[in-house]
Symmetry: C2
Subunit: 420 residues, 2 copies
Amino acid sequence: MPVDQGLRLAESVSETRQWDRLMELARIGAIPGDGVNRQALTALDRQARRLMIAWAEEAGATVSVDDAANLWFRVEGRIPGATPLLTGSHMDSQPAGGRFDGIYGVMAGLEILCALKDSGLTLDRPLEVVAWTNEEGSRFAPGCMGSMAWAGTKPLAAFAETRDAEGIRFADALAEQLAAEADLPRRPLGGQAHAYIEAHIEQGPKLETEALDIGVVTGIQGSRWLTVTITGASAHAGTTPVSLRRDAMQATMRAIAALNTLTADPTDVLRFTVGSLTVEPGSSNSVAGMVRFTIDLRHPDAVVLAAIGDAVAATVAEAALPCVATIEERFSAAPLDFDADLVTAVREAAETLGQSWSLMPSGAFHDAQLVAGAVPSAMIFVPSRAGISHNPAEFTSAAQLAAGTRVLAAALASQSRVTN
Amino acid sequence: MPVDQGLRLAESVSETRQWDRLMELARIGAIPGDGVNRQALTALDRQARRLMIAWAEEAGATVSVDDAANLWFRVEGRIPGATPLLTGSHMDSQPAGGRFDGIYGVMAGLEILCALKDSGLTLDRPLEVVAWTNEEGSRFAPGCMGSMAWAGTKPLAAFAETRDAEGIRFADALAEQLAAEADLPRRPLGGQAHAYIEAHIEQGPKLETEALDIGVVTGIQGSRWLTVTITGASAHAGTTPVSLRRDAMQATMRAIAALNTLTADPTDVLRFTVGSLTVEPGSSNSVAGMVRFTIDLRHPDAVVLAAIGDAVAATVAEAALPCVATIEERFSAAPLDFDADLVTAVREAAETLGQSWSLMPSGAFHDAQLVAGAVPSAMIFVPSRAGISHNPAEFTSAAQLAAGTRVLAAALASQSRVTN
């Protein structure tokens, strides 16, 4: 498709329709403060998918679902048998999430399907829009299960026994979702694609701070997710002298302080987060016998990430004494560079559309990180107000979202020509 | 009752019967490692009470229950209208508790009822054994609700809206208990008594360390229970630079470190415990937006307790910046001195029975602390192996428990004579 056709497709993107539909979806699982709690494989997730399916069918797409409950919308291209272009993201939210994280990328793909229909344009290649299952990992850890299973990074069966906080197995939640969507055609996991481009909110402050429209994402920093269990001895809070305690809570304080020192980074690039912590027995008048907490560690440099991550166990073990610390690594993803040609295509699309842009790495991980193992991939960021995300206050304006979708449309169109 | 009759009553205490019954009770709510999880106003609590009621009736006691579900066993004395002697403790356990905390004191009272029957002795005064409701405070905070309501420290209605972790109201749980025990005669809350003596495990290491049989308890250190809420801003763990976060978890680390400094005590008398901590949203890849944790602070000196407790709010508020900290005081009990004559009576009973003893304050709070506001009170401690309590490993030998019950019998007997 020549550049002017990419421009025409971009011009057919409707800022209003996209925004109104995002707001309609945000009512499903709405929480106070404009937030959304719509976690993976829940009834609310299914309700949101039904709405999206109706819009996709209205746009002339065929709908299908795969064994990981990834949801697919497809429109055919002009060239029979051509490998498809792929775009999308995820529809699940954090427990106290916002209205844009994930769902924007799926909506941008849907809006391009609508723009194709409205403009009467046809791409050479088929276009597929996908909503990946359980990107967030907040209900079932780790995240990105759907894209991992599709890309072949891990077999779907590897997640079967994972349980949510209520003890529900992932395999059972998945089976419930598939049963509820048994009316949809089933497609196999995996497959070929020519290119994958994912649009997403930045979830950081860079674009807003530098007053830019578009982040041309060069890659994704690496992540390591660890769980630390510190075991002491529960005892009576009133009678046990402090000097004689093996207090798992105090050991945790020392461990986190030591980890703060280990992860201290004057350049403020390394991200170290303890986001979850549970105590047993958890009684106000009992010394803690056991504390379990999570570590989320991220850095764009594989060498730094490996060195810091590998030092966690010894750091925690020493700080926790006389309590005993054990470490489990739940998830790790190496830093990734996106496909250079596709990054260039995104940059050129932004330039063609007159959008200001910057090359930048992604601070968050995304389904694109997994898809990139199977398909040339890239990402497009739009600004996040105050860099806030994973929070009800998450916000990107309708115009900013539409600009991102237009760049996505033009970038996808640029990859549509079948050259062989 | 002359001393030799107190001796005869003490000699009728059966070490074996008392131990066997404690072990039978420990099967109700048994948890791994010889522990017990039998919290207040649960089905397990009611099951244990039924067993105790059967034994009390077998010993010839009349059974009744008051509006706070305190459970009463009474045998009449020789002198009509004499105010009763009172003994007892509580039957509820910590979530991961042991086999002796609380239940021993009720069992010791029951054993003395049996000893009275077996010996054919009759005290001048009625003897009442009471099991106070919800001493532990681990299901419904604060603890000692039953004894507070009985002693008039707080009206029962003050606890009605307190909820457990599952959202159940105290008033509803209490109503359920009273309905299940509607076959028992109801007696009014409150009343007069001549003296209250409570037997309990020490829950600390002093008696074992000094190879003593009996702790003659002089008083109870004061307690202050606070809840701290630290509010920051939840954000994405991967994208939000550490320097820009308002991380409630890291603020909590700083607050607890500052509290450790505030409460540092080279004499190891002050007890500072953070036993419960919850995080919101509690997702491993979200910066914590809110942390709530408990403080349990105890000291035998009212001045010290007031000074440290009053300094908590400012200490936490400063350390938590830029997060915001709020403090709620859930419970406070001033240090208490027991009735001097009754303490002497306990000491003399120990001496008469040839038991080694030491005067000591109580590190834990007990129902006696509340009862003392209405009735002259004292306590008897027996050793706790390694000082361990609020833990399945809690242990006192059958012989040590029997020694305590014999001292309790002799001490109660010494208070039986009606002199006016």
